[in-house]
């Protein structure tokens, strides 16, 4: 972090390019304090984070049963398994134009884009988690009487948890990216200013310091959610199973 700041400042001093293309760190900092003074700083972040998390939660609620169905029911897998993996490789920014046309410029359109980005990741993570469950656990479960839904609940889901969590982590990354794409492309006064709109506003106002601020915040929020929520969760699960070597 410090290294990035030093290199940045050195580049500014060396005047490698015009200051409107590369603002000084202090100019970006002024942008932060200005936004803070106006009380909009937290608003920018909250607008996007609340959308991102709510969208992610919806993706979780839809992706989990979907993943289970694909993993456990043969004809469902044959029918929609390939579509899910295909969707995963489609950049979700591609969904922004149709979502705008279908739903208009509003929050539902944002959520639709998030869902289309995150649901396939979450479902696919769960499918591969289930596929990697050692058959021995399933056989042991069956001899204990855990069959059907009880087998799914007591054996399959906990056994697939590490793969599922990896899918959730990726699902969050996809939610966040999709949301930013949607916010940048589809800005409207009714939508409030999130980080994506901030970035777009910076571009239209020709304010590189605002652009930089937006990019930094997008990066920081994405990483922070991962570090605060997903990494501890993953470490806990792995450690309790003796899968994490701690020094």
């Amino acid at each position: 972090m410090a290294l990035v700041l030093v290199v940045w400042q050195v580049l500014v001093w060396a005047k490698v390019t015009d200051s409107y293309k590369l603002p000084a760190p202090s100019a970006v900092w002024d942008e932060v304090s200005e936004a803070w003074r106006q009380g909009t700083f937290l608003e920018y972040i909250w607008t996007s984070v609340s959308r991102g998390l709510l969208g992610f939660l919806m993706a979780l609620v839809i992706g989990t049963p979907l993943g289970l169905l694909v993993a456990r029911v043969k004809f469902v897998r044959a029918a929609i398994g390939p579509i899910l993996s295909g969707l995963q490789s489609l950049p979700s920014v591609a969904w922004v134009p149709p979502a705008v046309l279908w739903l208009g410029l509003n929050d539902s359109m944002m959520y639709a884009v998030i869902l289309l980005g995150a649901v396939p990741s979450i479902a696919n993570g769960l499918v591969s988690g289930v596929d990697q469950v050692p058959p021995l656990y399933l056989r042991a479960g069956r001899t204990l009487g855990a069959t059907g839904l009880r087998g799914t609940w007591h054996i399959v889901i906990p056994a697939a948890l590490p793969g599922y969590l990896a899918g959730l982590k990726q699902g969050w990354a996809f939610s966040w990216r999709s949301l930013m794409a949607a916010e940048i492309i589809a800005s409207s006064p009714d939508l409030g200013i999130g980080l994506g709109q901030l970035l777009e506003n910076g571009r239209t106002a020709n304010s590189m310091s605002m652009v930089f601020l937006a990019i930094l915040l997008i990066l920081i929020v994405g990483i922070a959610i991962d570090l605060l929520i997903f990494s501890p969760l993953e470490r806990r699960v792995l450690r309790s199973r003796g899968l994490l070597v701690t020094h």
């Binding site: 021995l136 056989r139 042991a140 204990l144 899968l243």
Partner: protein, 262 residues
């Protein structure tokens, strides 16, 4: 007269076996064609009896155990058991997301034991396999021998009439295995469970069983049977155990030679 009638009625309704295997055959379809793995196996395990099923690797003894456990269906013949049997594997098969105690409690829960009783029952079962204090331990914190003890406790938690064991001690070192033989004999005598124990270790078979059943290879057929009347508790190094083991080994070698597969 009335009591005699009642007794007769009793005998017809109550099951007089823990497992009954009748003319069971099993074949698998392989790229090389249909392969007969088990051929016309007929075997009863009486209530409370300890039977070892002995054979070379690949003779189909684990297949037979899976059939009895209901994990697979025979190609021909029938199998009936007194209730759902418990099964213990060579690998401990404990669930790593649960503690030792919770593994046992899951078995209790799945057979419908009330929540309030589970903890006490699990502690009792851990005490039965001499693992007091292991309740909160994670699977990866236990040694190989301890894991098999927990697996045994979990199998016993099913409260089945029949305990199926698929080479449960084969991956353990000799000393741990010897100790677990003692424990298994003790537990078998304390409970009234019937045991069908699969092994390729002749000494182990003789050390544990009341009856040793030898399976031939390709296809698996019952080749011979011995009743072991050496009094328990036995030791694996007892001369009587050694003597019978020599006799059985001779026969086993004959079986392996005849099929020339090894």
């Amino acid at each position: 007269m009335a009591t005699a009638l009642a007794k007769a009625a009793d005998a017809t309704t109550s099951v007089e076996y823990a497992a009954r295997i009748e003319h069971v055959s099993k074949s698998f379809t392989t790229p090389a064609g249909r392969q007969l793995v088990l051929d016309d196996i007929t075997l009863d395990v009486a209530p409370g009896e300890f039977v070892t099923l002995l054979g070379a690797s690949g003779c189909g003894k684990s297949t037979l155990l899976n059939l009895v456990a209901g994990l697979d269906q025979p190609s021909a013949g029938g199998i009936s058991t007194d209730g759902r049997p418990a099964l213990m594997f060579q690998e401990h098969a404990l669930f790593p997301w649960l503690t030792a105690g919770k593994n046992i409690e899951l078995a209790l829960k799945l057979r419908g034991v009330a929540k309030a009783e589970r903890r006490t029952k699990a502690e009792e079962l851990l005490a039965l396999v001499r693992l007091e204090g292991a309740y909160g331990k994670r699977v990866h914190e236990l040694s190989g021998g301890m894991r098999q003890r927990v697996a045994l406790a979990r199998a016993l938690a099913q409260d089945s009439k029949l305990l199926l064991m698929d080479e449960p001690f084969a991956a353990l070192d000799a000393i741990t295995r010897d100790v677990l033989h003692d424990e298994l004999t003790r537990i078998w005598r304390e409970t009234s469970v019937s045991v069908l124990f699969v092994t390729h270790n002749v000494r182990e078979a003789v050390r544990l069983a009341e009856r040793v059943v030898l399976l031939s290879s390709r296809p698996g057929r019952i080749a011979h049977e011995w009743t072991v009347d050496i009094p328990q508790p036995r030791r694996i190094e007892d001369s009587a155990v050694a003597e019978l083991s020599v006799e059985i080994t001779e026969q086993l070698r004959g079986e392996i030679r005849r099929h020339g597969q090894h």
